[in-house]
Amino acid sequence: MQALRLVRLPWTKLRHSSRDLLAKRPTIHWLLSALVWLPLGLFVTDCIANVKSIRGRSMQPTLNPDDSQWRDVVLFNRFTVRILHKYNRGDIVALKSPVDSKLIVKRIIALEGDVVRTLPPYPDAEVRIPPGHAWVEGDEPFRTEDSNRFGPIPLGLVESKLSYIIWPLSRMGPLGQPVIVRPDARRGSPDWRKSQADLEREKWRSSRVTLAPESSSPSS
């Protein structure tokens, strides 16, 4: 018992001195008590959603278009991918590159069972996507390192889905929506031309994919 008391003595001293310090410095006390809630915040950024800025031009003009002076800040939705494991064609996702494990942002073009007509660097003209894999491509075919270089990727590499542009304010809005001709835009106006270009690109993308027989609806 005596030995126990001897061991406890420095500990009690330390506790008392730290209590005095905290009483004297309310800022430190406030910071430490905020630190207790760190796990809750980390859990949210790890499993539910996260906000990051995008670097690079491989997703132009959807993200970081040339006429924007800012880097896009986007909401990364981790919940649908990590917990629900839901993947759709047309989703813009962040995945670990199979080449160097760095995080890259690409668009899912095709899922398992689909047949894709590939672009030049890929050796075969057509590929059937194996089960559990996806074909990902950047929106800007010239400046991107995507499945045309490294082939279909396992879906386990996908970390999060980009669901909402937060900054710049002029392009704020949900991502990965089906492309339509904007009814409010006047024919010939810049907005109209932009949406026409988006539509054209989308048509070109989907023309290269033959959907798997069991999932013939394009929205699946």
């Binding site: 980390l42 494990s101 089960p131 559990g132 879906l155 386990g156």
Partner: protein, 182 residues
Amino acid sequence: MAIGLLTRLWSSIRNTAQNPKVLIQQLPYRGLQFANFLCALHLFADHVATISSVQGPSMIPTMANEGEIALELKWINVHKLARGDLITYASPLDPSRPVCKRVLGLPGDVVCVDPTGTYAPSTEHVVVPKNHLWVSGDNLAYSRDSRVYGPIPMGLVRGKLYARVWPLRDATVFPSNFDFID
């Protein structure tokens, strides 16, 4: 001392039970605190270490078909994995399914695709590409591994099995079973 602690805990519980008003006032805060605690546990299990049960015949004789529990380290450097390590990764065939296999080839190694000759002729050899691993089950007859889906990207790796903790009789730290032959 332990008895003193217990009596103090008990009296505090009795006090709260006797004042339901205080209990109701504190309930949201206590609930948030509990959620915070659960989040901390989850983060620890996801990023530091956890115990996980291993099922399936693919790792016999290292792991039994069912009922064995292993200590899994999640805080690992995938670039420092060695040949012979047991790793867990998200299956390339089904992203929601974690699987456990043994690392056979590191980037740059030349491996024989299938020594048994069932999936490919036993003379075929490949080079493991950069940032990929060649994995294989210990029970080649009942295992879907790199012989089926090729080398796996390191981004899929989730953790490394370190030791068997259950059943207690067979508790061991997994040794590396790799030897070099001249």
